[in-house]
């Protein structure tokens, strides 16, 4: 017919199209009931949505002509047949039918599944749609219930033997409540299933996202690193560097350190160690006990430690360097130790900035102390200490001058 409602209904109910049309036409005879049902179903039934496109909005203004025609038909009938109870009953039955239709239609799980499917294509929309959908769902459900109740109360009021009066209305209310209760009992499992369905879908979506994140990480990092390792398999240094870097990034990913290197001492040290590992293809065994906030002085301590690591990596000729840091109430200390060649402090040229400027000088400027112990053939240990309190800093600055 006009808006394809009969076709939609037929599909929805699973009955032949022609049967629906005949029923509507027959109902049209009873006070334009068919027409009203047609309009109501048109307004309530979901439109068929072409997949991918957003669901078009239903224009409520288009409902007006139907309402007008319906009212006209009803007026005509009441003029033609006189104002009898039959006409009113027809109306009330229509109201009940529409209300029940709304409820029944809303609790159809396949429809909600269809909504969720559409939404899952745009995950950011899904949450919004699901929320608002639930609200309108509840709204329509309650609205349908009210319609049914009003209709039943009316019918009972008209046909009640007491004919008018408070008792008949009271009876009607009881009827309506019992009826709604029945509907509720029938519909409740459906509702429950529907909500469950939605929840399962959401959980599945979250799981899918996690899996995708893991897959992306493995693809971007691990497979890439493995490819690089195969290509550089003759260069042992490079293979070690790649493997170590990948190991570190996987560990970070697994244990998720929460601190940022600019804020926390331990994180800053770990980052410095990671940079040295990457640049010089060595392993830095980092152990940090305790943690503290980063400030300018702590950053200087980290920078000095980094310089010590770089020296060990470049000159000691070893593959592993130990880095140990401890935060105590009154002092921060960092130890960088290698078991490499070692050197004699007196033989380090004045022009070499690494040790004198970047380590010893820097620690002095910030009120700390650097001590270097090294013996030829016995490795090197750099000990850096920094007093924790502000006062000791200023004191340290005085002595440095």
């Amino acid at each position: 017919m006009i808006a394809g409602v009969a076709t939609g209904l037929a599909r929805h109910l699973g009955v032949p199209l022609i049967a629906v049309r005949i029923a509507l036409v027959v109902l049209l005879g009873f006070n334009g009931l068919g027409l009203m049902l047609y309009a109501a179903f048109w307004a309530v039934l979901p439109q068929e949505v072409p997949t991918g496109a957003p669901p078009p909005r239903r224009d409520l203004a288009m409902l007006l002509p139907f309402a007008a025609i319906g009212i006209g038909v009803v007026l005509l009938q009441s003029l033609a047949f006189g104002d009898g109870p039959a006409g009113t009953v027809g109306w009330l039955v229509a109201i009940i039918a529409v209300g029940a239709g709304v409820i029944w239609h809303q609790s159809d799980p396949s429809r909600r599944g269809h909504w969720a499917d559409n939404a899952s294509q745009t995950p950011w929309l899904a949450a919004v749609v699901a929320e608002s959908d639930r609200r309108s769902f509840l709204f329509r459900f309650v609205g349908g219930g009210v319609l049914v109740a009003v209709g039943i109360i009316g019918v009972v009021a008209i046909y009640s033997p007491a004919h008018g009066g408070v008792t008949s209305i009271f009876n009607g209310v009881i009827f309506a409540l019992v009826g709604l209760l029945g509907v509720g009992v029938v519909v409740a499992p459906l509702l429950w299933r529907t909500f469950n369905q939605l929840r399962t879908e959401r959980e599945a979506r979250i799981r899918e996202q996690e899996r995708a994140e893991l897959a992306a990480m493995i693809h971007d990092q691990v497979l890439h690193t493995l490819a690089l390792i195969q290509r550089n398999s003759t260069d042992i240094k490079e293979v070690q560097r790649l493997a170590r870097g990948q190991e570190r990034s996987l560990r970070n990913w697994l244990y998720k350190p929460t601190a940022s290197p600019t804020e926390k001492f331990a994180a800053a040290l770990e980052q410095a160690a990671a940079e040295v590992e990457d640049t010089y293809a060595i392993t830095v065994e980092t152990v940090v006990v305790g943690d503290t906030e980063c400030d300018e002085r702590v950053a200087a301590l980290v920078a000095a430690a980094r310089e010590a690591l770089v020296n060990a990596a470049r000159h000691a000729g070893v593959e592993t360097v130990s880095l140990y840091a401890e935060v105590e109430a009154d002092e921060l200390s960092v130890f960088v130790r290698d078991r490499g060649k070692g050197f004699e402090m007196d033989h380090v040229e004045e022009s070499r900035h690494g040790v004198r400027g970047s380590i010893i000088g820097r620690m002095k400027r910030h009120g700390g102390r650097a001590e270097i112990r090294s013996a030829l053939g016995d490795g090197t240990e750099v000990r850096l200490t920094l007093p924790a309190s502000r006062e000791s800093v200023t004191a340290g600055k005085e002595t440095a001058r």
Partner: protein
């Protein structure tokens, strides 16, 4: 604790490998062949429990992460029935709760899988002699867990605190010192260093310190 000392020096130690990665077992077996006798291996918890009981090795090298409960399950099943079998945990994981958990379940040491074969052989010997083996990282964890916190009441000072000497030894361990170097640094004998570390291990296993079960979660890291 010292019932096997002396005897172990004369003969080669027997070692049992528990790890669910066959490739890793093969690697360790090849590396350790020169130093100890690998008398058996197992890839699952159930297999390990059955075969350790049958072979009675000196030391079991125990992987932390395995299906069905991991090294922890093996330890829980074997500790009481076979007190003479020593366990050394070997893992790629540096997560604090794993490490502390294994030690508290009865392992006598913890080393990471990146350890060199010589160091591993030395660690096995040390564990077989009843001493403890701490990797630098484990030493760091312990220092952290036993850090003196003024707001926490000490229930049992004997168990819940480290002595200054023990703390010094742990610090040096964390700094990458070998036992020999620690002994030299502190002017004590290697045996004394070993005693200190064993005492720390005992405290780690017996202490009721709230932090030991809790701190890993607080610091949630490595």
């Amino acid at each position: 604790m010292t019932d096997v000392t002396g005897e172990t020096a004369a003969r080669r130690l027997t070692v049992f490998l528990v790890d669910d990665h066959a490739m890793f077992r093969a690697g360790v077996r090849a590396e350790l062949g020169a130093h100890v006798d690998v008398v058996g291996e197992a890839s699952t918890v159930a297999e390990a429990i059955a075969r350790i009981g049958a072979t009675l090795p000196d030391v079991v090298l125990l992987d932390v992460h395995m299906p069905d409960g991991g090294g922890r399950a093996v330890l829980d099943a074997m500790r009481r029935s076979h007190p003479n079998v020593r366990f050394l945990a070997l893992s790629v994981s540096d997560a604090a709760e794993d490490v502390i958990g294994l030690i508290r379940a009865g392992a006598r040491g913890y080393v990471t899988k990146t350890i060199s074969p010589e160091e591993l052989a030395a660690a096995i010997r040390r564990v077989a002699e009843g001493d403890a083996v701490f990797s630098p990282r484990l030493a760091g964890f312990v220092l952290d867990a036993f850090a003196s916190r003024p707001d926490v009441p000490i229930a049992d000072p004997e168990l819940d605190q480290l002595t200054n000497r023990e703390r010094e030894v742990l610090r040096l361990l964390a700094r990458g010192y070998a036992y020999k170097e620690i002994a030299k640094e502190l002017y004590i004998s290697i045996k004394t260093v070993e005693t200190h570390v064993s005492n720390v291990l005992r405290k780690l296993q017996m202490s009721n310190r709230y932090e030991l079960s809790r701190w890993a979660a607080d610091r949630r890291l490595v």
